[in-house]
Amino acid sequence: MKFRQIALGLALATAGLTGVVSTSVATAQEKVQFFPSLTGRTGPVAPNATQFANGYADYMKLVNARGGINGVMTLVEECETAYATDRGVECYERLKGKHGGATVFQPLSTGITFALTEKIPADKIPMITSGYGRSDSADGDIFKWNFPLIGHYWVAGDTVLQHIANKEGGWDKLKGKKIAVAYHDSPFGKELLPIMEERAKKHGFQLQLLPIPAPGVEQKAIWLQVRQQRPDYVVLQTWGVMTPTAIREAIAVGYPREKMFGTWWSGAEPDLKDVGAAAKGYSAVMMQHGAEPQSDVVKQILSMVYDKGQGVGPRNEVGQVLYMRGVVGAMLSVEGARTAQAKFGKGKPVTPEQARWGYENLNLTQADLDALGFKDVMRPVATTCSDHMGSAWARVHTWDGTKFVWASGWLQADKTLIDPMVKASAEKYAAEKKMARRSKEDCQS
């Protein structure tokens, strides 16, 4: 009998406390720039997304160690999404108003990006989706609050095909070839397909689509198809535990790793280190940076954050591919806020709306990047009102059994091909939403 009373009491107490706790977290700090971090430290993408979150948090600590953004300290609060869209939306709602307002969101999930794209214009909070999210959001005239800075899936698809074409000796050599795309069966995977189809049409190669249902630990059927049909190349658009599984299955069916190319979410250390030497020859296109343990920014993080015992993750992962992506993401977040400060008042925290102006008028020259420690890591980024991407460079690296080595020079996505696609897709989105392109005056504000 008592047991039941306790049960009843607990149920009521839980319902009551939920309201209390969610409102009782104090937000009294002054003069901080709040950067929320939606993490995927658990769930099917944990091995990969954890590194991103560590890099993001560590770079923010480095910014503080360097003296903040003109004296304004950064503050990171994490919320765990486990790569689930509904939890991501809950996290967004939880964090957006905290600590004086969230500067910018980086959800690291295409599903969450799609959901938040509908919410951020009303809340007036910008969102950076470097290398993922909606490709058409590069059109800043329609997607005012989205910033796929330095790359999106179509850039990844275009550059990986460029690399394949270079290997073959030119685009015309691709005619009649068969390229398979093994992709995560979700918006994340499908977003890659339009550029592949466009290129296939243009150059006359055959595309074989191989959807892999999430989380992707069961891929036997797909690789059986690969074994039967023997495509000339396989492009992987996978994420999380799906990637090492795909490479293992490829080994099992005897498909050569030299003919497998990942996009930039499918070619990092967590994907390959357990497969080790057997994965030798596997390549992946990288959004500008790769693994950069020698870069100045990594050295600074080690000396100014890890040597003081403030590092978030394991020391030996600092400088790995996805860690660097977190660092680059954090750097872009911070530099946008710094740009906004230059216009709206130095040494004061900027509002999300002001930060949006910063991201739209970002102009990171090579000298700026070198000064920040990104020499040989990144190329210049300059955004405008209509171009929210700002840069479309990539490189390809190859796994040599223990680490990645560069296998190509700088590749630039073909703007003449991608820009019309971005524009057409954005127009379609705007038509569905019955919204108009931004006016010239809106760009000035």
């Binding site: 765990e80 108003g97 509908e118 939403k433």
Partner: protein
């Protein structure tokens, strides 16, 4: 002492047949509904609405639908996520393909198509029972996952497979602030809860319960199993479909098939089992348990950690959340196998005597 029907004389059959024959119940429920409609909008903030109350209200509606099928008619279904998906995608298609389609009609149309699909996938229930039926309804789940991911027509040929709606309005009333969204969903849930409550008290609800308790005996006393089972599937999937439409349109705004995966089906089934099978009230308890408790744990753990001076990492919070949540499910099911609704009725029973011992 306070919760007794002494002195409440009923002089007409109508009075005896109303939903809440006891005056205290009637007033309590009316007060609760009034509070939900009038009080809550003044008390809750944007976060509470968008992250907790709206999902809770919508999933309560879905749980009511599942409860009709599983709790009242005894047909275990693992296809609830699929019916939600049908409701969402068909409402979307009706909404974007027909010019000036009213939102409410689109949502009801989504429910209608979910009903049709529900009836089709309910046909196996005429031959297979219990766990076997659960496996058969899984087919609905996998089929719908496949259809919405693969057939371009459903997503209006969206390249990513993700669809979005916005500019929701109802008779000139634009539904965009969290409070308006909450009230919109609450209206649906309250209406359907009331309809469902009446339905299960009536002839058709009694047929469902007879089928649940023993289908052979029910057939012997003249209940047509086919009619009873398929009507349960129809009503249940209609309500689930409407909830799916609300979940997609109002809560998510933009969604992909993964929003209605097999996990969602399990989640809804657990809501019904934990909340209480065969109880409309239990659906609300179950939804509250499944929706609110994980979020509560997620936020309370760092707070508890800071009280005792420990910084809990994000990943640890997430793991602990799963563990505590799992333990609580087991504990509640041991403490009260008939669900939270049973605890509720025990509480009411005790209230009849309270505060005096006799």
């Amino acid at each position: 002492m306070f919760y007794r029907e002494n002195g409440q004389f009923k002089i007409a059959y109508r009075a005896d047949q109303q939903i809440f024959p006891i005056a205290q119940d009637r007033w309590a429920v009316l007060a609760l509904i009034a509070f939900a409609f009038i009080g809550v909008p003044f008390l809750a903030d944007g976060y509470l609405f968008r992250a907790i109350l709206i999902p809770f209200v919508i999933l309560s509606l879905a749980a009511i639908g599942v409860n009709i099928l599983v709790g009242y008619c005894g047909q275990i279904s693992l296809g609830s996520g699929a019916f939600m998906a049908v409701g969402a995608y068909m409402a979307y298609n009706v909404f974007v393909r027909i010019e000036d389609m009213p939102l409410v009609l689109a949502l009801l149309a989504g429910g209608f198509f979910a009903m049709l699909v529900g009836i089709v996938f309910g046909v196996p229930s005429l031959r297979v029972k219990g766990l076997y039926l659960a496996v058969a309804t899984l087919a609905a789940q996998f089929f719908c996952d496949w259809a919405f991911a693969r057939i371009g027509w459903f997503t209006n040929s969206s390249s990513s497979g993700s669809v979005a709606v916005s500019n929701l309005s109802f008779l000139g009333w634009t539904i965009d602030s969290p409070v308006e969204k909450y009230l919109f969903c609450l209206t649906f849930t309250a209406t359907f809860a009331l309809l469902a409550k009446n339905l299960v008290r009536g002839a058709i609800g009694r047929e469902w319960m007879a089928i649940r308790d023993m289908d052979v005996a029910a057939a012997v006393i003249g209940i047509r199993p086919m009619y009873a089972k398929l009507s349960a599937f129809a009503v249940s999937s209609f309500i689930i479909g409407v909830a799916g439409g609300l979940w997609a349109f109002v809560h998510l705004g933009s969604w992909e098939p993964a929003a209605f995966s097999i996990d969602r089906s399990f989640q809804l089934l657990f809501m019904v089992i934990i909340g209480g099978m065969g109880s409309i009230m239990g659906s609300f308890f179950g939804a509250a348990f499944i929706v609110i408790l994980p979020i509560f744990l997620n936020q309370a753990l760092p707070w508890v950690g800071s009280l005792i001076g420990v910084t809990v990492s994000t990943a640890m919070i997430s793991h602990a959340e799963f563990m505590i949540f799992g333990v609580l499910i087991v504990w509640f099911l041991i403490a009260e196998p008939h669900g939270l609704a049973k605890l509720w009725s025990i509480g009411k029973q005790k209230l009849r005597l309270w505060p005096f011992p006799h």
